[in-house]
């Protein structure tokens, strides 16, 4: 089924089209929700809520371009996840910084980030995904919004109702923590095995 047919079918609440849309896009969107909400049960709830929003509001989507359509669904999923985080993790963005301050090791790589090129390529997306998922909620959210979605700190601050500086700090800490995790893999020689 072409994307145009798929959208039209979903607009008319045809079960076949809805089913196909689910099969086609649910894995991608589930990954998105898992990136924001690390817990798989919560991620499932987020995805379900997002998909219902998508099915209900697909009539308002006027374009029939595959890419634009995915972007629209992606945006809905991200917003649903953020709503969920806002609701359940109130004030966590501020408190977590202090909590994890001491957890960030000081011996993170001081050298150029460029060394990660090969490492990250070797780690693979699944491991990296798990690592991002292990970041604290506040770090992970800001990291996702900034790095993956491409939002500015100003936009992130507005979305999460935090200050710009908090956003910057969280991103900095998130990067460092992620690097330390990668460093840990290298130190444990697990990467060597992979390589």
């Amino acid at each position: 089924m072409e994307i145009k047919e798929l959208i039209n079918g979903c607009r008319k609440w045809h079960k076949k089209a809805q089913n196909e849309l689910y099969d086609k896009y649910a894995p991608k969107l589930y990954a998105v929700s898992l990136r924001y909400v690390a817990d798989s049960d919560l991620a499932r709830d987020v995805l379900q809520e997002a998909l219902i929003k998508i099915y209900k509001n697909i009539g308002t989507f006027s374009l029939t371009d595959d890419k634009a359509f995915y972007c629209w669904m992606h945006r809905i999923t991200v917003n649903t996840a953020l709503n969920h985080l806002r609701k359940n993790l109130k004030n966590k963005f501020n408190t977590e910084i202090q909590n994890f301050e001491n957890e960030i090791p000081n011996d993170t790589f001081e050298e150029s980030f460029s060394v990660y090129d090969e490492i990250i390529a070797c780690i693979g997306s699944r491991t990296l995904f798990t690592m991002v998922g292990e970041l604290p909620d506040g770090y992970r959210t800001v990291f996702n919004l900034y790095v993956v979605e491409g939002f500015s700190h100003k936009e992130i601050a507005a979305q999460l109702d935090i200050t710009i500086n908090t956003s910057k700090t969280q991103l900095f800490k998130a990067r460092k923590m992620l690097m330390s995790k990668i460093n840990g893999i290298v130190k444990n020689n697990t990467l060597k095995e992979v390589v």
């Binding site: 607009r11 898992l34 460029s114 990250i120 997306s125 790095v147 993956v148 990067r175």
Partner: protein
């Protein structure tokens, strides 16, 4: 450091961007269960307007019907009168219902006709018999008003010599109320020869004089119809008693028989008829408002009526005096002819290159950017990259302009047709002028979309595509419109008439699509048909 951070972020983004994880299996089941429930409630919400309207109209219809029935029910209380000759009053046959109600009942001598009985002796037992029937009479008066009317009935007395008897009788009636007229009649069969006026009873049992009878006083009684009210019945009862032998003379009897009776009122039953009709629009507004563009790419649409835009249906009518209710079902197929000036469709993004005098358009749809080089004065494609990965250092050499090109439809013309099953309901009023009836009716029409044929241009501005109507409008969608029609009908026989109804209908709720099109029926037309009365 900054660029390294960027690089690091980019690496992460690349890794995380396209990752796919299969969601747990129960989620799908759970989700579609929820969607099914949502679809159910969505449908309820969607059709609630129609259901509510239908219920409202049904309730109104039932209420009206009951009201009519209620007014008709009172004559049925008294079955004691035997029918006599009755002819409906010509003055009152205004409507079709009245026309057809020129029903002649079998002529029959009424039991109420008094035979010879000229005995002047007043039998006191008769009075007692009246008194015994008091209870029955009370029961026959359903309402208190009727009962009090009976009690307060005034009996004019002309013969002073009979005053005592009259008083006795009247007082008996007034205080204890006499028995039913039938019973009275049974008790007092008089055969007064003076009383030649045969009493006529209308269809409902109301007593009235036979036409052209001359009373003893020489008064010509015309055809009278009498309202079957408590007063009349009381009057009749009294007159019966007064016509007892030796007590009341005939002159008084007739006058007393109809003391205060209003004339020219008759009971009319609900009249049913079935009509077949066919109609055609004479003028219609565009069914769907198509997206017009008044920017650089000027185009607009004009819609005109096209054959066939017909309706054909059957309806059932219930009418009472001037008022009538119609309910029916009709097939409707409307067609419109759409014309436009040039429509630009299928837009494509292209880049315009000027290579030292040579120009070239390159399709950039899909977000690709193309690198070229010129070999032997011919631009050749070197490489295509995503637009966001253009190395801008190579772009300064050429003057590139982004353009959008279209396919052009030159003065396209096409026809769209829409098929419905419609349920018209209406209430109307009509008046009779001889064989001609003229009236007006109004009411809602519920339309169920069965199918569509044709095209609509999709896209508001530049993204114009010609979509088929079937993909836009969902089958079995409901719409609602309101119709006002003039009713002109002519009797071609006693039970059949020809009808002509010029109408105007206006859409209240059109059939809409998710992409913004709304199909509305605003039209003027005419229907013709025949109607048969049962």
């Amino acid at each position: 450091m900054k660029s390294s951070e960027k690089n690091f972020d980019e690496l992460i983004k690349q890794q995380l961007g396209d990752i796919e994880i299969q969601p747990p299996a129960p989620l799908k089941k759970q989700l579609f269960g929820k969607l099914a429930r949502l679809a159910f409630f969505r449908n309820i919400k969607r059709y609630s307007l129609f259901v509510t309207l239908l219920l409202l109209i049904s309730a109104l219809g039932i209420f009206s019907y009951n009201s009519i029935q209620k007014t008709d029910s009172s004559p049925k209380e008294n079955n004691g009168f035997k029918s006599s000759t009755y002819k409906a009053d010509n003055e009152n046959n205004n409507t079709a219902a009245q026309k057809i109600q020129d029903i002649t009942f079998n002529e029959k001598k009424s039991d109420a006709t008094h035979n010879e009985n000229t005995s002047n002796d007043h039998n006191s037992n008769n009075t007692q018999a009246l008194a015994e029937n008091t209870t029955d009479f009370e029961k026959n008066y359903k309402t208190e008003a009727e009962y009090s009317a009976a009690k307060n009935a005034v009996v004019p007395i002309k013969n002073p010599s009979l005053k005592t008897h009259d008083d006795n009788i009247t007082s008996t009636l007034a205080t204890s109320a006499p028995g039913t007229p039938t019973e009275i009649h049974a008790e007092y069969k008089s055969n007064s020869t003076d009383l030649n006026n045969s009493l006529a009873v209308n269809k409902s049992g109301t007593t009235l004089p036979e036409s052209n009878n001359t009373t003893a006083a020489g008064v010509q009684e015309t055809n009278k119809t009498i309202d079957y009210s408590a007063n009349v019945r009381t009057g009749f009862a009294i007159s019966e008693m007064r016509s007892l032998p030796g007590h009341i003379n005939t002159e008084n009897t007739l006058k007393m028989a109809y003391p205060e009776a209003p004339v020219n009122k008759m009971h009319q039953p609900l009249l049913w008829s079935v009509g077949l009709n066919i109609g055609h629009s004479l003028m219609q507004y565009p069914w769907t408002r198509l997206p017009e563009n008044t920017d650089d790419d000027n185009y607009h649409y004009s819609s005109t009526l096209y054959f066939p835009s017909i309706t054909a249906g059957i309806d059932i009518r219930a009418e009472k005096r001037h008022l009538f209710f119609d309910a029916g079902i009709q097939y409707a197929r409307f067609t419109e002819n759409i014309k436009s000036d040039n429509i630009l469709i299928n837009p494509q993004n292209q880049q315009f290159y000027n290579f030292t005098g040579q120009t070239m358009n390159v399709d950039t749809g899909g977000g690709s950017y193309h690198y070229f080089w010129i070999c032997d004065s011919v631009p050749r494609l070197l490489d295509s990259v995503w637009t966001w990965k253009i190395d801008t250092t190579y772009l300064n050499h050429y003057d590139t302009i982004n353009t959008k090109i279209y396919d052009t439809l030159n003065h396209p013309e096409w026809r769209n047709s829409y098929t419905f099953i419609e349920l018209p309901l209406s209430v109307g009023w009509q008046y009779n002028f001889g064989k001609l009836n003229i009236g007006i009716k109004t009411g809602p029409i519920m339309s169920l979309l069965l199918g569509t044929k044709g095209f609509v241009p999709s896209g508001r501005n530049e993204q114009a595509y010609m979509n088929t109507l079937n993909s836009e409008f969902k089958k079995f969608s409901m719409g609602l419109s309101w119709q006002v029609a003039a009713v002109v009908s002519y009797f071609i026989s006693e039970r059949m008439l020809l009808e002509c109804q010029p109408y105007g209908r206006m859409s209240i709720k059109g059939v809409s699509t998710s992409s913004g099109y709304v199909m509305k029926n605003n039209s003027l037309g005419i229907t013709v048909g025949v109607r048969y009365f049962f």
